[in-house]
Amino acid sequence: MNMLPDISGMVFRVLAGMLMSGFTWADASPSTPVVPKGILSIAAYPSPPLELNDIDGNPFSLAQKKGRWVFVHFWASWCGPCRREMPAIQNMVEKLKTSSLVFAIVNTAEDEDTVFTFLGLLAPDIVSLMDLDGQVTEAWQPRGLPSTYLVDPAGIVRYQALGGRPWDDDEYLKFLTRLLMQK
């Protein structure tokens, strides 16, 4: 009786099993972020352009942030969920200020007075980018306002948040921190 085919079959099965378990480890490794509620891992696509001045007149270019994750957020003062979410965003910015995460917080089609007074009350440390005519927001086509995207270091949109999120909750902070650990 020739045992060779059976042995090779066993070896194949063992190797396959090792490979499978290896994949399982990879999926469960600490560096893989657990996606919190309301964050969608979406079909990746290159980010639309985002070049705007902030409320102090300083230019911002998303293209120049390659190599870093970018938190892109669209908001307006008339949007109720934006008002509820903005303090959480300020807390998150404060907690992650020493990280490499870049924040691009974009006001959609409002003037400086409106943005100044709104943020002055709710999130005075946030520096908003000013999409004065709304055309940058238009190019991103968010589902609605507020809307948040996470753009990877290669400039690819990887995640989208549905509506307003409690960004300063541990679950979200851990998710963002683990994203930053990914290469």
Binding site: W78, L121, D125, G144
Partner: protein, 207 residues
């Protein structure tokens, strides 16, 4: 990341300005919010709507005055506000209570009165009108973001809202809406009766 500092002003003047702004804002804040929260006090009749185990749909009518005040506060041109006064506005909020995707397509919404189907003004009709009227892009953009999208896939438990605009009518009407669930699956239907434009009195006459 500090901003909102008065970079170019004397410290005392800056402080006074900030205090005044904040007091005025605190007074005006309720009026400047998206109207859902301010249209209905808790002791008032709840807005018309529909709810079952699959979705929640609510419709909040805007009066012409509310609409004008809201848009004026955002610097909309008078011409634009006058034009919008001729229409009937509802803010629709939809929550998908299912564990799968619920498909909104406003083409599947019918607003029906005794006299027949009411005309809904789709999103595509506004930009040519605003362009012809020379409306600034910022106002166009804000108006557009306030509209309910023509189509949207609601993810499980997602809630979104936006305005639906109808040709003004004094008649009571119903909404018959269908939401898709994908191929080979019957849509979810929702009916909301006794809807009226906000400027119509109980006697059925426009204010």
């Amino acid at each position: 990341m500090a901003n909102n500092n008065c970079k170019y002003q004397q410290k005392q003047a800056c402080f006074t300005q900030q205090v005044i702004i904040r007091v005025l804002l605190a007074l005006a804040f309720g009026l400047s919010s998206f109207p859902i929260g301010v249209l209905y006090a808790e002791d008032e009749r709840p807005p018309p709507g529909f709810e079952n185990g699959q979705l929640r749909l609510q419709l909040f009518p805007w009066s012409t005055e509310q609409m004008a005040a809201f848009f004026e506060a955002r610097g909309f041109p008078v011409l634009m506000i006058e034009k919008l006064s001729a229409y009937c506005f509802f803010t629709a909020t939809i929550k998908n209570k299912r564990n799968d995707v619920l498909q909104l397509d406003l083409a599947d919404w019918r607003f029906v009165s005794q006299d027949g189907e009411l005309q809904r003004i789709p999103r595509s009709q506004w930009p040519p009108l605003w362009k012809k009227m020379g409306i600034p892009l910022a106002s166009q953009s804000t108006f557009r973001w306030m509209l309910l999208p023509e189509t949207l896939h609601f993810y499980p438990h997602e809630k979104e809202g936006g305005n639906v605009v109808l040709k003004k009518t004094t008649a009571a009407f119903s909404l018959r809406a269908r939401f898709g669930l994908g191929e080979n699956t019957d849509p979810v239907t929702a009916t909301v009766d006794n809807l009226q434009c906000a400027d119509v009195t109980e006697a059925g006459k426009p204010l």
